[in-house]
Symmetry: C2
């Protein structure tokens, strides 16, 4: 296992080489290819995933069977269905690799032991979650204050590199608009 995660942790808290070595014992590396599923609707989400390389997305299917993307996670992001993970209840979401990816999986079953062994992780995750939650506050702000067209162009300007990595229809569902309307928007501009 590489030191990508340890490096990320050190951006938030002090973390020694010994601690990093201990952390390794709790992680499984998953090399997954495009489109493979790490979690399916109905399963209990028993892992917290860290993206070393590649990209994951979380999505669900609405009553018409259409896939709605909820979140993306690229390098150095964590992803799990917290509702299912913490309560042990069946998940209503899917987690899928958008690209060929390298993922670290931490199991819920050893979580207690892990945090006891490395209490500094409590602080690390507190910080990470604060950041994620802050990002979500902004996301909701944008959803409610921008038209769908504005939302699209705004996202493109914020993440010009990322939009190259994902198909149009996935971005559309993440932003809450239809692929057809994205086409129309793009045509208008040119």
């Amino acid at each position: 296992m590489s030191d990508i995660l340890a490096a990320h942790i050190r951006r938030f808290v002090g973390f020694t080489t010994e601690e990093a070595a201990m952390l390794n014992n709790y992680a499984s590396t998953l090399v997954v290819k495009k489109k493979s599923l790490l979690l399916q609707e109905g399963q209990v989400c028993r892992h917290n995933y860290f993206v070393e390389k590649g990209c994951l997305r979380m999505f669900f299917t609405d009553e018409k069977g259409a896939e709605q993307t909820n979140q993306f996670a690229i390098e150095n992001w964590w992803m799990t269905d917290y509702g299912s993970y913490t309560n042990g209840s069946p998940s209503q979401f899917y987690i899928q690799a958008v690209e060929h990816s390298s993922i670290l999986a931490f199991s819920k079953s050893t979580e207690r032991e892990l945090f006891t062994a490395l209490p500094v992780l409590d602080q690390y995750f507190r910080r990470i979650l604060e950041k994620s939650f802050g990002a979500t506050q902004w996301r909701i702000r944008y959803i409610f204050s921008q038209s769908k067209e504005e939302r699209y162009w705004h996202f493109c300007s914020l993440y010009p590199d990322f939009i190259q990595r994902i198909p149009q229809y996935m971005l559309a569902s993440y932003l809450g608009l239809t692929p057809e309307y994205v086409s129309e928007i793009r045509k208008k501009k040119s």
Copy 2:
């Protein structure tokens, strides 16, 4: 100061009476009346607020000057603008009392000291934030899978007591619809 917060902490982690006493040293109790502002747009958010009694909301004003409610916090919820709080950047949000409320304020300036003195709080906040983040995942799910009418009735069925406590127009802006449309929906049903 009452023991409302200590009781809440004990729902997630072990917490002694001595620890609770120590925690008290870091909290200021604010008794605020309806409509008073704890944070204004442009200010840096320097506090994390815990609602002992009453209700807070976070909102922003869109380019047309309309208020958009982002979040509510009732008894036993925390509220802050995490983006501003953690980065020290000016906030784009307001935090306002919806009702006459009793609030505990924890200052950013003593945060480091507080978490050093009571490391168990790292774990407590990690849990709280996991829960909040999970709730937000669900909120986004609902925003993208329900029509505005469904969203309204669904919220009413989930929080029948809460909707009694807030004016219609605040709920409307929280759900992303206009007060006029809420009227129309309600008329349709009866």
